[in-house]
Symmetry: C2
Subunit: 271 residues, 2 copies
Amino acid sequence: MKLSFRKKLAQVIKKNQSLVCVGLDPDPSRIPGIDILEFNKNIIDATVDLVCAYKINFAFYEALGERGVEILKRTVEFVPDAVITIGDAKRGDIGNTSKAYAKNIFDYFNFDATTVSPYLGYDSIEPFLQYAERGIFILCRTSNAGAQDFQSLQCSSCSGSQPLFHVVARKAKEWNKSNNIGLVVGATYPEEMKQVRDICPDIPFLVPGIGAQGGDLALSVHWGVNTGTGGAIFNSSRQILYASTGEDYAVEARKSAEKLRGEIQVLQEKN
Amino acid sequence: MKLSFRKKLAQVIKKNQSLVCVGLDPDPSRIPGIDILEFNKNIIDATVDLVCAYKINFAFYEALGERGVEILKRTVEFVPDAVITIGDAKRGDIGNTSKAYAKNIFDYFNFDATTVSPYLGYDSIEPFLQYAERGIFILCRTSNAGAQDFQSLQCSSCSGSQPLFHVVARKAKEWNKSNNIGLVVGATYPEEMKQVRDICPDIPFLVPGIGAQGGDLALSVHWGVNTGTGGAIFNSSRQILYASTGEDYAVEARKSAEKLRGEIQVLQEKN
């Protein structure tokens, strides 16, 4: 029987003493002359004992056409089984369509987890949740500036007036029957992360927005990873992948991942 | 210079006297033994003079892996240039990621239009809008039951208290500087369609939910297509593709598309 997502995540965090998730978002213009699959494999080889997860954003592979799909598949296969793979696809469609997306992400690519967009509501997420042993990170408070356009709107609901992302967090808690839901909560909005943590003490967070996006690592570790909570994992893409754009990129990526792991460890001790 | 999306759509609607969009969502279990690319080509050949657009939902192709990407690409290539192709991908991610998705949909696959999800706000949609001659249909009020979970929430905004999908419609109007925005508004919620039409008189609607989903075609034509509005196009997938599951599927698909075109024409005359 496949280990549940939560158990597998806890095991790799313990083994590698790491909350670092490396975002494998290769940009051909930043790694000229290097085969992308080769690049991914070298990054994975250089960091695999320092991280708990790899997050692979579909956009950068789809932009490469058919070859991108092959690279994506072979990259997922290359990650050792003990380390979590997250297919960052942000899908969300009506029921029978979401079912096809879930099949693609979990059956074809065999990811341990994925990200989904909540705008279409429960029946768009339910086909993913059916995969009880996989992790489903619902977009809650994203790390970008535009997050404020809709996610911050004050909404009336049965729990009183609250921002939309609170309603999403409450629904996530309600839908979490198989204990396989997580939430995407950006490090760029630490106060909002605190609010989501108050609503969902036991749900793991996938935290983008540190590094290039300028999020607050200290506060994110503080609110995300308090003892007794679902914990949090921290994604870094560009800061690690492009730590050097020379031939020593893998060596420098390792140093960058090691540095981030250490910074988070120090912050955890202060928690 | 490429014709703008709105002009191209108006031309094909006039030429084929049709507001029918066929959703090419092939389900291998319903067309056993038939090659999907062959199936798509036969459906297109059988209906191309009866429709204004083909909508291709990425989920059903991604579920087929690499071969799916190839079929998707060759299906888009097979559609004659005068007919609109809509890549129904419902993407939405942070800026640099949405840029990669837009590149994939518009540059690699060369779709005339796409669908995008609004949850991440303006900077997630802006990279698509940059393609000024393509159409960007923003999910507003979707056709599924779960649409009510978040889209119907009453939100406070500078225009007073209103459901979230109204706020999305107002933002779409505000962002429509290049006149390339459309909205996805399901036929299953005709009263809500009327409300969106009041907010956005000049924006075209992509209307899913007729046929298998049980939406109200008469009211949708009434509210969607009134003279002087941006108009609407009506998607039908399963009703047309699987009109027959025998060898006569293309002939029956043609009959089904012709019937739908005729029904809409009659309803338009009553408008």
